[in-house]
């Protein structure tokens, strides 16, 4: 992680307002109507090879923010500088390229994978659409990608519903990796999984960062999950980042009241230290 070089992604003063109600009178007077500010002047940077955790309660704007980075939601204000140019100015081919380089992984792989497509075909399709090297040679490409997410080559023949939740999420990640991204945006990607499976996935994200040098934005409501994967963490509350800093600082020396409240409410088994003894 070279912190002295330019960040891969730099977000500056991004705002998103959702219109709740806009009457005819508002339209005639060109007023915005009743709006709710979901993301309110948010700025942060993501370094190469960094894992940035984005935490906050429901409705804090973390998902909206994550989606704006690849313009699944259009920002109203602000700049999103990815590799030197503003994502908001990108159109057509450029936007597709931005979305190739910044891939999203969602909470529910069941709804993001085509249930009728075998795993191998889904991976191959993603790779071919974006002209990835090696994608013309189907089987070895698929095997290489599956290997990245620690799935056996035999998984290529399976359909999503034949897989367990954890395996399905690995496939969703594999599909994201198939297009050769530089940034992964994981939106609650491990939240629906059982703890024993969650651990495996967290380790996978750490491996991917180490092996591929990926930068990762890791959105989660579960603070302890972020505590274990993130290098830095941003705490969101009511559309703003109320605290951002190294994971150690934010979790051990929180400065904002909301961060303290979140940490205090976090349930953990009474002896928090791991008990050891299991390989």
């Amino acid at each position: 992680m070279s912190s002295d070089t330019a960040p891969i992604l730099s977000v500056n003063g991004v705002v998103k307002r959702f219109v709740l109600r806009r009457t005819l009178g508002d339209r005639l007077a060109r007023r915005p109507g009743l709006t709710q500010t979901a993301v309110d002047h948010v700025s942060f940077e993501l370094a190469h090879g960094e894992i940035l955790g984005l935490a906050g309660g429901s409705g804090s704007g973390k998902t909206t923010l994550a989606r704006m980075l690849i313009r699944l939601v259009e920002p109203d204000e602000g700049r999103i500088i990815f590799r030197g140019s503003d994502v908001r100015d990108a159109g057509g081919r450029d936007l597709r390229e931005v979305r190739r380089q910044m891939q999203m992984v969602f909470q529910d792989p069941y709804s993001s994978l085509n249930p009728r497509m075998r795993v191998g075909a889904a991976i191959l399709e993603a790779g071919r659409v974006h002209h990835q090297p090696g994608a013309e040679n189907g089987t070895s490409f698929v095997e290489r990608i599956l290997d990245l997410v620690r799935l056996p080559a035999s998984a290529a023949q399976r359909r999503p519903q034949e897989l367990s939740g954890g395996q399905r999420q690995r496939v969703a990640i594999a599909r994201a990796l198939a297009v050769g991204p530089e940034v992964l945006i994981a939106d609650e990607a491990v939240s629906a999984l059982d703890v024993s499976i969650q651990t495996q996935l967290l380790n996978l994200f750490l491996d991917l960062r180490d092996e591929l040098g990926l930068s990762i934005i890791f959105v989660a409501h579960q603070l302890s999950v972020i505590a274990e994967v993130a290098d830095r963490v941003a705490i969101m509350h009511e559309g703003r980042i109320v605290e951002i800093g190294s994971t150690v600082d934010v979790f051990h020396h929180p400065t904002h009241d909301y961060t303290r409240a979140l940490l205090a409410a976090h349930p953990h088994p009474r002896p928090p230290a791991p008990t050891g003894g299991v390989a």
Partner: protein
């Protein structure tokens, strides 16, 4: 309430979902059931009121609730038992509330039907309940529809309905799973307060060991349809005996390890799916202590401490 003991077997065709579970909840105490998806924890708590999906069949030696044999009840008695003695809350309050009715009326309806109050008394009691569960301006909220409330408020309304008849047992099945941590903490302390005030017992089902540890006296750890370890919460958290419990506790991410880049070992492999036919210990394929006898052993709870039992013969006496 007398001790409640359950021992049953559910069969879905030839499929075994839950096997040989026995436990007891004393009055005013809190028992937690913790386990991963498919471990059978929800089926276990539902069978306490014989509320299983139609294709599920249960058998048990005995389910005694407050001196009454639940297994011997006919439909009417069972209905009355469910209505008056047991309150239940689920993960998703939205699907349990009637979207077309004001929430206050739903609480009042419960009181009219199950406690025989007249309209006026039911309404004033419902307002008191809304206040009890910590809803601000109950007069206004009485008239709200479920979709107008936040998730935390809906869960409070569900709790109000569940405790309306002052049940002796509250069953909370993943009741706080969908909520924010701050809301979750509020709901958990609300349950604790009501437990003390009404003197009810609580059966709390969760996949989250942290939640269980915070509110329960005793905990049953379930895996693959079996209880693999049972005992006082402190004991189990500090001296877990069963390899599954140990591995589970080790897998839980913690705030204390922030920034230390610990990589947890986790548990390799997949949990058995519900109803997968297994013999011997269900954890055998993922267990580091496993040996051949584990594949054929019978699941028997062995005493490992005071009121603390574990189903693993290998780790007994091998205190880590």
């Amino acid at each position: 309430m007398n001790d409640l003991s359950v021992r049953f077997r559910t069969e879905d065709g030839v499929v075994r979902a839950v096997d040989g579970i026995s436990f007891a909840v004393a009055p005013g105490r809190t028992l937690g059931i913790v386990g991963e998806s498919g471990s059978g924890k929800s089926l276990t708590c539902r069978s306490v009121i014989r509320m299983l999906p139609p294709e599920g069949a249960m058998s048990a030696n005995q389910i005694v609730f407050d001196g009454h044999d639940v297994l011997a009840m006919d439909r009417a008695a069972l209905r009355a038992h469910r209505a008056r003695s047991v309150g239940m809350i689920f993960q998703d309050p939205f699907s349990c509330l009637d979207p077309t009715k004001r929430v206050g009326e739903q609480i009042a309806e419960t009181l009219r039907v199950n406690a025989g109050l007249d309209r006026a008394a039911a309404k004033s009691q419902a307002l008191t309940l809304l206040e009890d569960v910590g809803i601000a301006s109950p007069d206004r909220r009485y008239l709200s529809y479920p979709h107008e409330l936040s998730g935390g408020m809906r869960q409070r309304v569900m709790i109000a309905i569940a405790v309306a008849t002052k049940p002796k047992l509250l069953i909370a099945d993943e009741a706080t799973t969908a909520l924010d941590v701050t809301t979750q903490a509020q709901i958990l302390s609300l349950i604790q307060r009501l437990r003390r005030e009404i003197g009810m017992s609580v059966l709390l089902v969760s996949h989250d060991f942290g939640v269980i540890a915070q509110v329960c006296d005793r905990v049953a750890v379930m895996y693959g349809g079996y209880v693999v370890e049972f005992g006082p919460v402190e004991d189990i958290c500090t001296r877990p005996q069963h390899p599954y419990t140990r591995a589970l506790l080790d897998s839980i991410p913690s705030l204390e390890s922030a920034g230390q880049r610990v990589r947890r070992a986790g548990i390799p492999g997949q949990p058995p799916s519900l109803g997968e036919v297994t013999t011997g210990c269900p954890f055998v394929d993922r267990c580091t202590y496993a040996s051949d006898p584990c594949r054929t052993m019978e699941m028997v709870m062995l005493e490992v401490g005071r009121g603390h039992t574990s189903a693993c013969p290998v780790t007994v006496g091998n205190r880590s």
